[in-house]
Structures are given as structure tokens and as C-alpha cells.
Symmetry: C2
Subunit: 212 residues, 2 copies
DNA sequence: GGACACATGTAACGGGTTACATGATTTC
DNA sequence: GAAATCATGTAACCCGTTACATGTGTCC
């Protein structure tokens, strides 16, 4: 086999999926990722210059080089083989989702630092969530004004955006709550009122009461 | 300098943080990670055999080897220098949180696959969230029964667990909603009722109405 | 015509993963 | 005493990162 049989990564498929929508230059791919994939499949942009090459190696995409001044811009497009591979991938089970939060790691060991450190960590965490919400809100407004670039994809995008939105909502609300809690602590050391704390967990795991 | 000046990763600090609680063998570290860190700093367990060695190299931890039959078990403990480094780390801003979800990538390109593929992806996503909730619920019950191993950490753990819980709640609820939506579609192709779809986004970004 | 953002990459390193291996302990 | 599971690692590969480099349009 002359085709490279290297196993494709999720990043490979993500790009293949974008190419299935239409051909893109690498820079356009990067821009597009910032709008969507970045929120649930974050990768450094420099990656996007390496990955399509592997797709071409495997015969899943084709590259065409166009001159732009002295430089060349590479535009990639999907091949029929690429479409097949993408389709087969969609039918296989996805890997488990994972959350990575250095902020939560810091929270977890906050008793070894100062109360202000912890409050700072929470504040930043909350601000990040708010920033994301602004970004998403801006995108939503595009849809409301009918200015979204791929109206034929609106049904799918709405699914994804809803999860992202509720995610940021959860995070922002948590940050606010946690800040309030910590402000009530004299320091980050041992807890005062175990009963109240455990009651929080109890309340959480109870099924929600129906509204009166 | 004979000390390795390699920059520590978040994983390094996570382990350093655990060692600040008490000394652990590598296996115990792995077990402990499964209970906590794993939910917001997921790493392969084999990693946990390499990382403490780097801490020892940097003088932040000490290893003591104890015989267990023919083999040796290595127990690690933090040094005063390690505590200092941990404390300084806590005062620095945390990297942004990131969500990685192959399932959402598949959702994003679901129009290139079948409706059943999409429903499968959503079902698995929901099941995973439910599994996590069960795990968390089991941990909460330990707290309610007063059987949590580190009661002096309850205040911090409650903060973290609450976010994790609400996270899984968001995910489970979304999966249920999305499944309902998709079931109403004839296929994964272009959308029928753009207005209804866009209305979802509009409703989301409105501030919540106060309860009557 | 200088500054500055946009566009387009390459090089090198290393943390993290997967795969493998094998000793101890419990179960039945 | 076989099987399964718990415990304890090692080895090798590679995706992803950070850092660097330089061309191109545009604003003023």
C-alpha cells in the first residue's frame, strides 16, 4: 500500500468534516475553527497547517496551490474517498468527553494558598465564562439577523451552540456562587460548618422539587 | 544548577498538591485521581508513574522505596521546597478551561451521516453523563454518611463537586433535548423550519424571566 | 513609507498516550 | 491451583505545543 495507513485522529476528522462543507485555504480553516470547533475541540492553529497534509497523504483530500504575490496559498478539498471515510467515522462511537480545567485544580488545592488567591482564581474563571457568552451571543445575533454563512447547517449548529451556551451558563453561575461561599470563609483552612456544606451535596443529588 | 529546571506542568502541580495532603504510593495516587482530579484533569494512569520522578528530580518530593514481596513500592512525600513551589503556583493565574468532546465534533458533521448515527452519538453522550452522575452521587453519599476520607477538606471538595455535578446535569439535559429534536427530523439534511431553530438561540440569549 | 494587523507557514521538543509486561493477592 | 483482579511499572511513538520567521495588504 502506498497510502499511509496512519490512524486518523479526531483532529483529522474535524478538518475532513470542514472540507466536506466546501474547500478552504488553511487560514480559512483556522478562522472557521475559531468560530465553532474551537469551543469543543481546541487545538493550536499551527496544527492546522500540518494536519491537512496528512489527509492528502492518505488520499482523503487534495491540495491545490495558488500564487498570492510571491507566496503560495494552499487550498484543500475533500475527495470521494474522504467522504466515505468521514461517513464511516460518524457511525463509530465517540470517545468520552473531557473537561480540562487548571482553575479547578487550583481550587482543589486552594487550602495551601491564600483566600485571595482562591478568589482570584474564581473571578478569572467567571470572567472567562462571561467572555465566552459574549462571543456566543455575537454569533447568535448573526443567526437572528440571517447573516450566518451556512444557513443549510442551522439545524445542526443550533444543537451544538445550545450545549455550549448552557455550559458557559453553568460555569458563570457556579463561579458566582463559589465566590459568595468563599467570601464567607475566614481563610482557606479547615471548614467550620460541616453540616451546611454537606447539605449542599444533599440538595444537589435530590431530584428537583416540582414548582409549587 | 544540578536541579532540573524543566518547567512544571499542571499535572506536576496536581500531584504535588496531592502529596501536600499526605504521602502516597503511586498506585494510591492513581486511585485518588480517579475520585477527583480525573473529572477535570484527566490523564492516563501510566503518566502517574513518570511524573513524581520529575518532582523528585527537582527536589520538590522525596521517594522512599519499600519492599512488597519481591517488588518495591515507591512512596512519595512532599518537601518544604515543594510546598513553597505549590503555594507560588496557586497565586498565578490559571490557564483557560477547555472542553474536548469528540461527540460534539460528530454532531457538528452529522449531516454527512445517517440520522441513526446521530441519535446513537447523542444517546451515548447522555449515558456517559448519567454514569458520571451515578459516580458523583455515590461520592456524595459517602459525605452524607460521614465516611469521606478527608473531612478537613470538605469545604473545598464541595465547591468542586458542585460544578462537576451541574456540568453533568447540563449535559444530560441537553442530550435529552437534542434527542427529541433530532427525532422530529426526517433526516440529517437541511433544516425545515429555520424560524423555530433560530428562536431557540433567541430564547437562550434572553435574560431569564423572573418567576411569576 | 512606517506601523500594524492579517496571512502562511516551519522546526523542535516533550507530555501524554497506547501497548506491553509481570508480580502480588484474592476468589472459588 | 486456575483465574481474575489488583498493583507497579517500562518503552516507544506522535500529536500538539511553543517559538520563530517572513510575506502581504491597509491605514494614516
Amino acid at each position: 500500500m502506498s497510502r499511509s495507513d496512519r490512524k486518523l485522529t479526531t483532529t483529522s476528522y474535524a478538518i475532513l468534516g470542514l472540507l466536506a462543507v466546501r474547500p478552504w485555504s488553511t487560514y480559512e480553516l483556522a478562522t472557521q475553527m475559531r468560530r465553532n470547533l474551537h469551543y469543543f475541540w481546541p487545538r493550536a492553529e499551527s496544527n492546522l497547517y500540518a494536519e491537512p497534509k496528512r489527509l492528502v497523504e492518505g488520499g482523503l483530500a487534495e491540495a491545490s496551490s495558488q500564487p498570492v504575490g510571491k507566496r503560495r496559498r494552499t487550498v484543500y478539498s475533500i475527495t470521494p474517498g474522504g467522504r466515505q471515510v468521514l461517513e464511516r467515522w460518524l457511525s463509530r462511537p465517540a470517545a468520552a468527553s473531557r473537561l480540562e480545567s487548571e482553575a479547578l485544580v487550583k481550587v482543589m488545592f486552594a487550602n495551601h494558598g491564600s483566600k485571595d488567591d482562591l478568589l482570584d482564581t474564581l473571578r478569572r474563571f467567571g470572567e472567562e465564562a462571561e467572555t465566552r457568552r459574549e462571543e456566543l451571543r455575537a454569533i447568535f445575533h448573526e443567526y437572528l439577523r440571517g447573516e450566518d454563512p451556512f444557513p443549510e447547517r442551522v439545524h445542526i449548529n443550533v444543537l451544538a451552540y445550545r450545549l455550549l451556551w448552557e455550559h458557559t451558563q453553568t460555569e458563570a453561575a457556579w463561579a458566582a456562587w463559589a465566590t459568595g461561599e468563599v467570601e464567607g470563609w475566614p481563610n482557606t483552612d479547615a471548614p467550620q460548618k460541616r453540616e451546611e456544606l454537606v447539605a449542599v451535596l444533599e440538595a444537589l443529588s435530590q431530584p428537583a422539587r416540582p414548582a409549587p
